[in-house]
Amino acid sequence: MKKRKLIKLVIILIVTGFIIAGGTAFYMFNMPHRNVQKSKSDYSLSSSQIVNEYLTDANAANEKYLSDDGESKILEVRGIVKKISEDFNNQKVVLLQNNGDKAGVSCSFTLETNSDAENLKIGSQVTIKGVIRSGASYDDDLELYENVILEKCDVVK
């Protein structure tokens, strides 16, 4: 009798274990992307500040802003709208670059937030929130300064 009880307990434990493992695996596999706009911003700074941080010490800046798993820091960046364009995914791309800076911050919007980018005016000051994908640097082969890149952007109201 005691033995049967023990076997029953073990079976229940194993089954529960499998359900939890399976559930976790299923959840992990289907885990949705982080919602950048609904997440808390990690840093708030001007486009000049982040560009200068990268041009001064790119390694230190990457260490500070990039994450191993690609879910890097969420930034709110203030700057002057220099250019508005569109990428191959029909997303609006707003370039924030202050006068005299060697590089700017390129902010890709999403199909959901595009309309907020359309209302922006060249030369106006704005704050944009997004996730950083890469930093600014001078590239010898391109022979130009690459911008800081933010994606999943929206205007901070």
Binding site: D69, S85, I132, S134, E146
Partner: protein, 188 residues
């Protein structure tokens, strides 16, 4: 004398670029699409990146692309994390991939005449700090003041020391993946 001359011309080039973003014959594109596609019997995996910057020099055929690796977006969040992680592309340590090369049949391409031209490109591809020379085919489409460059080629992950020895990624990610590139350039 020669060094001074070279130095001066380099300075002049940098100066012009910082002023206008391009020199004569050199076009800059920030409108691009780089796609990663992996096929195995288990699943097809695709990731898209719209954040690359490229330059093409219509006079020399020089071509450069810089690809921010964290800009690759996957349908599944977990795949994206694996891709970025230090077992796969280690994008924190190697945030950018780069192609630096040349169009080798420049004489067969007329950047001033509308049309679709076959191009051969050779150069160095650097991913995760590993550089390999590649020689691929592509297409250059000229339409008015627009130039569109396209190419599709295969990359063997092991050539870039990207290997999975165990777990799901080792069976579900192809050993050779297909990369497609498209970039638009506008003539001034």
């Amino acid at each position: 004398m020669k060094t001074t001359k070279t130095l001066l011309s380099i300075l002049a080039v940098i100066f012009t670029i910082s002023l206008y973003g391009q020199t004569s014959g050199k076009l800059v594109s920030s409108k691009s699409h780089v796609k990663f596609f992996s096929h195995t019997s288990f699943e097809d995996i695709e990731a898209n990146n719209y954040t690359s910057v490229g330059t093409i020099n219509t006079e020399t055929g020089d071509m450069v692309f810089s690809v921010p690796m964290q800009g690759f977006e996957f349908e599944k969040s977990l795949m994206q994390k694996h891709f970025n992680g230090n077992k796969f592309l280690d994008t924190k340590k190697f945030p950018k991939a780069k192609f630096k090369g040349k169009i080798t049949n420049l004489d067969q391409i007329d950047f001033n005449k509308d049309g679709s031209y076959d191009a051969t490109v050779e150069g160095d591809l650097t991913i995760k700090g590993e550089t390999n020379s590649i020689n691929e085919k592509g297409t250059v489409v000229v339409k008015g003041n627009q130039i569109e460059v396209q190419s599709k080629f295969n990359v063997t992950l092991a050539d870039y020391k990207i290997t999975f020895v165990e777990g799901k990624p080792s069976t579900n990610i192809a050993k050779t993946v297909e990369i497609s590139v498209i970039a638009d350039f506008t003539k001034e």
